[in-house]
Point group: C2
């Protein structure tokens, strides 16, 4: 946990923001409950709700809190362990002490929460969109028919999106663990073993040193299948292996890196040509990342660079600006360039992708690729974002473009047929926007140039 002052400051800033937006009433936070995997005594690994962690830090189930926007009064609701439970759980710190440790003076049993909300009848009660089934049920029971507060959601996003120095230190640590995990994975690639073996090795490191992985690891020789969490294939020669994985450290900050490796240790000429384009897009995006520009512009600049490279290989043809405008890059990279990252790997995605990644006046494109961009905002110091261009040859998508004429005259479908068994490449770093530019997070960088990757794999 951070020091008491951190949480006090954050909550004060939240209430100040709410007041400055003309809001009044109460703010209700509901922490997570344990999530049963099979039955109530066999749960998934405990994970607290991220906004709760941000404002209250207490990393335990079944907590709630109410903040009074008008009076500033703060109360934490949770149950103390009963005497008999101490026999099973060992000595426990009382709720009152835990609340005081994060600067909240009032605490009460959970059963008093209903009462507190009843007393507030007629006043606004602001709460965030729930992220789990339990929280949905709990909110519906407490405040039947009420909907989440957009004012609160925006105020929370406004705070969490700018990372404090102490948060950046944690993200740097999560990145160092992520780099360590990826390095072990790279060194473990061997023809003939099952992908799952490497995934186990990776998750073991994440669990030994941190909370675990920050999202389900993608490790596949079919990188062109973007939503692919199977790891049941034997590693075969001549394939490209996409590894997209990150660590959540013990303070619950995420990292998220992607590298793509030739399973045989050396790229084929064809693989290297495409890899080089993705690598240059990654480097370009980083070089353009600085306060004042929008990440939408950076996305489009990398799309242009990508089309330039593909054009040189004869896979597309035509004017680059026209191709960018026509969304041709989306055929090869149907996802966005990156997303915010922090306490969640897609930071605050439960609060609403558009509220997190788009400013008033920015509307989300409907085009393939650009339409999936999770982060379009003007960049500002303290933003932490991912830089993750990719090129994939997705037969079903290419066929759809051809069938529906979506590629105009820009796409060389005949040449693309030679890439139907290519797979995909994605290269991802985590980036902090600084006062005058950007810094890659973590104290080193995973080998990324095609030469460096081959060198690392030869070791």
């Amino acid at each position: 946990m951070f020091s008491k002052e951190v949480y006090v400051r954050r909550r004060a800033a939240l209430l100040e923001k709410m007041r400055s937006e003309g809001q009044s009433g109460l703010v209700l936070f509901i922490g997570n409950a344990e999530a049963p995997a099979q039955y109530k005594n066999n749960c998934y690994k405990w994970r607290q709700e991220s906004s709760w962690l941000y404002f209250f830090g207490i990393d335990e189930p079944l907590y709630a809190a109410v903040l009074d926007i008008d009076s500033g009064e703060e109360t934490i609701f949770a149950n103390d362990v009963e005497l008999d439970d101490i026999i099973w759980m060992g000595p426990q710190t009382p709720v009152r002490e835990k609340a005081l440790a994060v600067g909240v003076k009032n605490s009460a049993p959970l059963s008093k929460l209903e009462e507190c909300l009843e007393k507030a009848a007629g006043r606004d009660v602001h709460f965030l969109p729930p992220s789990r089934y339990y929280n949905t049920m709990r909110l519906e029971a407490l405040l039947p028919g009420k909907t989440p507060s957009e004012a609160l959601t925006k105020a929370v996003i406004g705070l969490r999106i700018i990372k404090e120095d102490i948060e950046i230190q944690e993200i740097d640590k999560a990145c160092d663990l992520g780099i360590q995990m990826h390095s072990v994975a790279r060194d473990a690639i061997r023809l003939g073993i099952v992908e799952q073996e490497i995934v186990g090795l990776m998750e073991g490191i994440a669990l030994a040193k941190g909370w675990g992985t920050s999202f389900p690891t993608i490790l596949t020789q079919h990188g062109e299948t973007l939503h692919n969490h199977l790891h049941d294939k034997v590693i075969e020669p001549g394939k490209l292996m996409v590894i997209d994985a990150g660590v959540e450290n013990n303070m619950h900050y995420a990292s998220d890196f992607t590298r793509t490796y030739p399973t045989s240790g050396k790229f084929t000429t064809k693989q290297r040509e495409i890899y080089q384009i993705v690598f240059e897009c990654n480097e370009l995006a980083f070089s353009l990342t600085k306060p004042g520009v929008t990440y939408r512009e950076v996305h489009l600049a990398t799309a242009r660079k990508m089309l330039e490279g593909l054009s040189a290989l004869g896979l597309v043809k035509g004017d680059l600006d026209e191709m960018v405008a026509a969304g041709i890059a989306g055929l090869f990279q149907p996802h966005g360039l990156g997303h915010n990252m922090g306490l969640d790997v897609h930071d605050m995605e439960d609060l609403g992708e558009n509220l997190v990644g788009y400013e008033p006046g920015q509307t989300r494109a409907r085009q393939l690729g650009l339409g999936s961009l999770r982060m379009a905002r003007h960049l500002a110091p303290g933003y932490v974002i991912t830089d993750e261009p990719g090129i994939y040859f997705i037969p079903a998508l290419i066929e759809k473009f051809k069938r529906e004429g979506l590629g105009g005259d820009f796409v060389n479908y005949q040449a693309l047929e030679g890439y139907y068994d290519f797979g995909g490449i994605r290269l991802e770093d985590d980036v902090l926007v600084t006062a005058d530019g950007a810094r890659r997070l973590g104290s080193g960088r995973l080998p990324i140039s095609p030469d460096d990757v081959e060198k690392a794999m030869a070791k």
Copy 2:
């Protein structure tokens, strides 16, 4: 997945059981949905509902099924992936084919489930107690105000409690992985490292070779705290480290072993004395395990053995049978001797502990220890149970016994004061009840005698 015939046979047996109990109407099964950890695109590792796995095998989210007890008609409800989704997910097998592969002839989109239940208005709809918040919400939406069916619950327990040969093979595999994982953990014990490091190593093996661990690993130098999932302590000399952990294999069968190691590699005299008692209790329980006896009797026989050993050390005194009757063993082992194990590590615990572990005519004791016994039934061939005696010195519990006079004249509280920093010992194997006795599951056995443990740690 098992072959089609397995699932066809199990469902036929279920409906036959329901009919023979005079039941009619429909049986509704709701499979699991993905469980969000932070937001809907960042979920915990996918785990299907166990009874769904048992009767339908399809290991994917958002499936449901209706069986008609009267007509025998079977329908699986699930949505096919849409054309556009194939772009992201790769080619997918249609629901219809998946249903046929487990012998279900009818399939329909999930949206037809409501219609199917509406058509059945007036007929009974039997369903199992839900195990997750999602399933609770879903059932409440489908069948508002209805409660789970005890007839169905009992019929399902009646089938799942007797393990088929193909299931025993899977449990043997899960045990072999569990033994491998425990062996690595034992070899990794080193003074000065943090417990979490070993846990990561263990989980890595479970994930590399199987689905993962079958429950959150217990690895602690405070074995006396039974509900302890923290792993943040540095390993210190002279302690006892309890490791209670199992693997769930890729067919979702569980293993569950416990061993206790002296952190310094050698037991102290005091540790060895207590360890020897627990070891003998484990051996005794196994030797008594055979068809016809109740596991309640086995529990009580080990309780007697335990008190005999503690008596020889002067920690308790008095007539052994009187002490057993007075529940004095519960002061040292406040939990039961074991539980059923199968697709869940506490098999079918979501269906109700008493229905699973107790027969008509058996009532659960209220005594500490015996009252926590999850499995009391007459043993029968095909039962898979754990054998896990333990001795713990829990200061808060000893003080409570002393304060409230719960130990009568049997307990030597003064002698026990010398054990307040002892910790705890538990030794657990997984056991199959056979036609004429019992077999320990897995192809080997983790070293368990005090000499063998010291020898293994010296390597």
